[in-house]
């Protein structure tokens, strides 16, 4: 693909594999093929970068702890339950 706004059928098919590529779930041979394509296709390279950033943003949100007041109430409930 040469134009970012006009994905070819091949690029559309590859899009379905991008998540698995980014998650490391493709076979080595398929991974190499996708990696080569991403390097040479502006559209797929851009999409890969955006998906990667999106995944990173989501993962950065993981594991948020409740505020102290909420945790205090949670601890009090545990204490009452185990008493």
């Amino acid at each position: 693909m040469t134009a970012a706004t006009r994905p070819s059928p091949r690029c559309r098919a590859l899009l379905l594999e991008l998540s698995r590529y980014l998650d490391g779930e493709l076979t080595p041979a398929r991974r190499r093929t996708v990696a080569r394509h991403i390097k040479t296709c502006e559209c797929c390279g851009t999409m890969s970068g955006r998906l990667r950033a999106t995944i990173a943003a989501c993962r950065a949100e993981g594991g948020t702890q409740p505020p102290r007041s909420v945790r205090s109430r949670a601890a009090a409930r545990i204490k009452a339950l185990l008493a």
């Binding site: 998540s19 998906l51 409740p66 505020p67 409930r77 545990i78 339950l81």
Partner: protein
């Protein structure tokens, strides 16, 4: 860093390089399984940790997926009681984590069955993140941090929150479980009651939709 360590107050341990900390299948399972085994053997500290985690999961699910902060305490109470009753009967400790998330999901969705697809008032993550004295806003000044980076993070969080709000409830749940809570694809499939291939497909579609929303809000 383990979730136990995060429980000690480091609330954003995955922020530094998230993609390198991609959830690994079995990592979280083992951690929960260890607590379940210890709690089942009478370790009071392990039981308390497990009960606290169950409530934290319920709080995050309520706020992130259901988007109704008012329901969070009810969901936490439900998760606490069900975990307490369930933990002594567990035969396969590895099955605990999917059970917990499924229980929390059911508790949250039951209480908001009619409104779960309409998260009109999705809880603001900015408002609920903890600071030294309770919730703090991410865009508030933070000594020792690069203000430009903080502003960027806060803006990104706001955009992500808005983008999450636009996802169908099921996609939002999968993103939450897989990306934010670090469950494996297999665990997510168990929680959702769908195949692993379905999880992968829906996760991919959710990612594409999220990136489109994030890109649109950036421009």
């Amino acid at each position: 860093m383990t979730k136990q360590a995060r429980g000690g107050g480091v609330t954003k341990s995955r922020r530094l390089n998230p993609l390198e900390r991609a959830p690994t299948a079995g990592e979280g399972e083992d951690e929960y399984a260890g607590l379940v085994t210890a709690a089942g053997a009478g370790n009071a500290s392990a039981l308390e940790q497990l009960l606290m985690r169950a409530q934290e999961v319920a709080w995050r699910f309520s706020n992130t997926v259901c988007g109704h902060a008012s329901d969070a305490e009810d969901a936490m109470q439900e998760a606490l009681i069900k975990t307490f009753r369930h933990v002594g009967r567990i035969r396969d400790p590895l099955a605990f984590r999917p059970w917990l998330y499924r229980t929390v999901r059911n508790a949250c969705l039951m209480s908001r069955r009619k409104k779960v697809d309409e998260p009109a008032r999705l809880q603001s993550w900015d408002d609920v993140l903890p600071g030294p004295e309770g919730p703090m806003r991410l865009d508030a000044p933070h000594p020792g941090k690069d203000p430009e980076q903080l502003a960027h993070n806060a803006a990104l969080r706001r955009r992500l929150r808005t983008a999450m709000r636009g996802l169908p409830a099921q996609y939002r749940t999968i993103v939450f479980l897989r990306e934010m809570e670090g469950l494996s694809t297999r665990e997510v499939a168990k929680v959702m009651g769908i195949s692993e291939d379905n999880v992968k497909t829906r996760l991919h579609r959710a990612r594409v939709q999220l990136q489109a929303s994030l890109g649109a809000s950036e421009s």
